[in-house]
């Protein structure tokens, strides 16, 4: 189906189903319960983040997973894409389509420039070149290019580029009738529009922005499967495997790596454009090296070079980041209220260090656990689980082995 083989089609349909049903899947607990307060993730902002960062990491995986080139400055493209989209909202109008297209174009051109220079080197030298470009972009965006007092305020510095009432918006209105800044929309459907479905104690939110981003994520995922299974994808894996042989086989590896770099830059720009479409403010922090590091973390967490890994990695990272940081002592007491007082306080005292202001600690430990025990990332975890179940039935290990050289899902 769709030009995919049976296995890929199944994978794609599973991802599609999960994306479309996410409002149900992410809200497993009935509204108003203590579990729901913290663990439910089915609210628009977080759901949007899941799919948008999914797009970002899917793109990154095309570069890193296939060619092995570790870009440590990928967040720069995300940032450039975000700025481009907000500029579109400021100058042209609030429809997200032109904004997203412009972010892809701008990020692609930026990637072409940086990639052309950086790909002259490989290994860690390449990584440091990309890091240096991204840090330069970040530093300039934070200060020199963002001085509101100067005539050349491209990024609005620390606050981030935001919409104002006096922006021109030539194809739309600067101010709505009730005196507000107009909202981002897809041909009239506002990105922040939601409708709520209530079943028993459960509340499910269907958000327009999420579904737009989700569908774009599915398209991106589909394209990434096609790339993985294409001759181009095979050439990229050849780059990772043996550049010497590749060159002596009559293939020029540079255009291949550059193409992969630009494609993943466009993916990042798309993600940036979507972020801005969901929330039209672009901050320079998106380009900081820690943001680039986070992309690498998400890719490796999920499973490098696998199809589904990026989506899992992005989801895992965003989920824990958002959930852990919002738990505070009061919430802990509420959860543990079934315990005797002394025990409750002792537990809260210990857990206190891992949640709220300590969420970095938990996340750091989680990363380490995954990297140490699951070298292949979450995908490997899934495979191990699957194998555990399969062991009970007659094994079909041979077919397993023969499939190994093609990327696992």
């Amino acid at each position: 189906m769709f030009g995919l083989n049976q296995k890929d089609t199944r994978l794609f349909l599973i991802v599609a189903a999960m994306t479309l049903l996410a409002p149900f899947i992410l809200n497993p607990f009935p509204e108003g319960t203590a579990m729901a307060q913290m663990f439910n993730a089915g609210y628009p902002d977080l759901m949007q983040r899941f799919v948008i960062f999914g797009i970002l990491v899917i793109g990154f995986n095309i570069l890193f997973g296939l060619t092995g080139y570790l870009s440590f400055g990928h967040a720069a493209f995300l940032g450039v894409g975000s700025y481009a989209a907000v500029w579109m909202f400021k100058l042209v109008g609030m429809n997200v389509v032109p904004a997203i297209l412009l972010s892809m174009v701008v990020a692609g051109l930026f990637a072409l420039l940086i990639g052309y220079v950086s790909l002259r080197r490989s290994g860690i030298y390449f990584s440091i070149l990309t890091l240096a470009f991204a840090q330069m972009s970040y530093n300039l965006a934070y200060s020199v290019l963002g001085n509101p007092a100067s005539n050349f305020n491209l990024t609005n510095g620390e606050t981030g580029l935001q919409l104002l009432l006096d922006d021109p918006r030539v194809l739309g209105e600067s101010v709505t009738a009730d005196g507000s800044i107009p909202v981002t929309n897809f041909f009239g459907i506002a990105m922040r529009d939601s409708f709520n479905l209530e079943i028993g104690g459960w509340l499910f939110t269907f958000n327009a922005g999420y579904y737009l981003a989700g569908i774009i994520m599915l398209i991106s995922f589909y394209i990434s499967i096609r790339i993985f299974r294409s001759p181009f994808g095979m050439m990229l894996r050849a780059v990772k495997s043996n550049q010497q042989r590749m060159n002596y086989t009559g293939l020029s590896s540079r255009p291949y790596t550059l193409a992969a770099f630009v494609i993943s830059g466009i993916y990042a720009g798309l993600a940036g454009g979507l972020l801005s479409s969901m929330d039209p403010l672009a901050g320079a922090e998106r380009m900081h090296w820690t943001a680039s590091g986070e992309i690498v973390i998400m890719a490796i967490l999920g499973g490098v070079g696998t199809l589904i890994g990026p989506i899992l990695g992005a989801g895992f990272n965003e989920y824990f980041k958002n959930i852990l940081s919002k738990i505070n002592d009061e919430v802990l007491h509420q959860w543990l209220s079934f315990m005797p007082d002394g025990l409750e306080n002792a537990f809260v005292g210990v857990l206190h260090f891992f949640v709220g202001k300590g969420w970095h600690l938990s996340l750091g430990l989680l990363f380490m656990m995954v990297i140490i025990f699951l070298p292949g990332g979450l995908v490997e975890g899934g495979q191990r689980l699957a194998r555990l179940f399969r062991r009970r039935r007659p094994s079909d290990d041979d077919s397993q082995k023969s499939a190994q050289s093609t990327p696992a899902e």
Partner: protein, 343 residues
């Protein structure tokens, strides 16, 4: 002219810190082949060794002073450090005053131990894993370490002063015949530079003139051959990891009076020191030191008003710009060997 001399001094000082961290990173990379993103955290822990010793030395007995009131209007609790009650107020105060230099003695065993535990407990399992995995697991460790420090010491910087004898600054200007006060330089920063020079010299001498060092250097160049000779290179490499941790830690201890230590100071240095290592050339110790000082001095010059007037914002990007130019013109940095970390 005086402005230039001043910035050279500033650059040497910045360079000292870069060079010390880059040296340790390169030692670890050269011996174990591991890219250690937790190295900045080791620097930070070193600085907190100084903070900890200062805290230990100022552990106090509490007496109530009825004549004074605290902020709630209750009688004021006055703290007297134990060392002052044991050694007398003057000697005690002097010991507290010298807590940073004393912390060197405290930091060496602590850092060697941390280095040893880190290598045996975690890094060892990552020798054969891809560099990206090494980066990620050590990055995770760095986050964990700094969050632990934050949980104990808070996020705010903690002032950790130099001994009174080293406060204030020296007037090079009048010494070299310029106007007075044109080139002033703090005593402690000079101490830091001298200290860095001693440590760097010490590490090089250790590698060059001791048998242990020679074996390690041979192992860095060709691990298999050294192993074939029946030498247990692993154990020596473990020790080198401890040494590298100690170098980072000492750099941190001595840095504490320059800028009040905070839990994220390691991350602030990490990226820059990686740039330094790569500009120096992966695996080259002299390269790391050279690049450290070079980038330190360039950074100092870029912050001069005269230069910023021509290139606004140049001080924000100078290090990265120079790194890009060097890596593009010299494929393996200043002194790197071919084939190291190029795949």
């Amino acid at each position: 002219m005086d402005a230039i001399l001043l910035q050279i001094l500033n650059g040497l000082d910045k360079g000292s810190a870069y060079a010390l961290i880059a040296l340790g990173l390169t030692l670890i990379f050269g011996t174990l082949g591991v890219v250690n993103f937790a190295h900045g955290a080791l620097f930070m822990i070193g600085a907190f060794c100084a903070v900890t010793l200062q805290r230990i030395l100022t552990l106090s007995t509490i007496t109530i002073d009825e004549t004074q009131k605290d902020f709630l209007g209750n009688p004021l609790k006055v703290k007297t450090p134990y060392v002052e009650s044991w050694f007398g107020p003057e000697t005690g105060a002097a010991i507290i005053d010298w807590s940073v230099p004393l912390a060197i003695l405290f930091a060496i065993p602590v850092m060697l131990l941390i280095g040893y535990v880190m290598e045996r407990g975690l890094i060892k399992h990552f020798y054969k894993r891809p560099h990206a995995d090494q980066i990620l697991v050590t990055f995770g460790l760095a986050i964990v370490l700094q969050e632990i420090i934050k949980a104990f010491y808070g996020a705010n910087p903690i002032p950790t002063g130099a001994p009174a004898a080293f406060r204030g600054s020296f007037d090079f200007g009048s010494m070299f015949g310029f106007d007075p006060n044109t080139i002033i330089y703090p005593y402690w920063r000079m101490v830091y530079f001298a200290f860095a020079a001693v440590i760097i010299g010490g590490v090089f001498a250790f590698l060059r003139y001791t048998t242990f060092g020679m074996v390690v250097r041979a192992g860095m160049a060709d691990r298999e051959t050294v192993e074939l000779l029946g030498i247990n290179i692993d154990r020596r490499f473990t020790i080198m990891f401890g040494v590298a941790a100690a170098v980072a830690g000492l750099a941190g201890v001595m840095y504490a009076p320059i800028n009040s230590p905070n839990y994220h100071m390691g991350m602030d240095f990490l990226v820059l020191s990686f740039v330094v290592v790569v500009v120096g050339g992966m695996g080259s110790l002299p390269g790391a030191v050279l690049a450290g000082f070079l980038l330190g001095i360039l950074e100092a010059f870029a912050s001069m008003n005269e230069i910023k007037a021509i290139f606004p914002g140049i001080d924000q990007i100078i290090i990265y710009l120079v790194a890009i130019i060097i890596i593009l013109t010299r494929p393996r940095g200043l002194m790197g060997r071919p084939g190291v970390m190029e795949e």
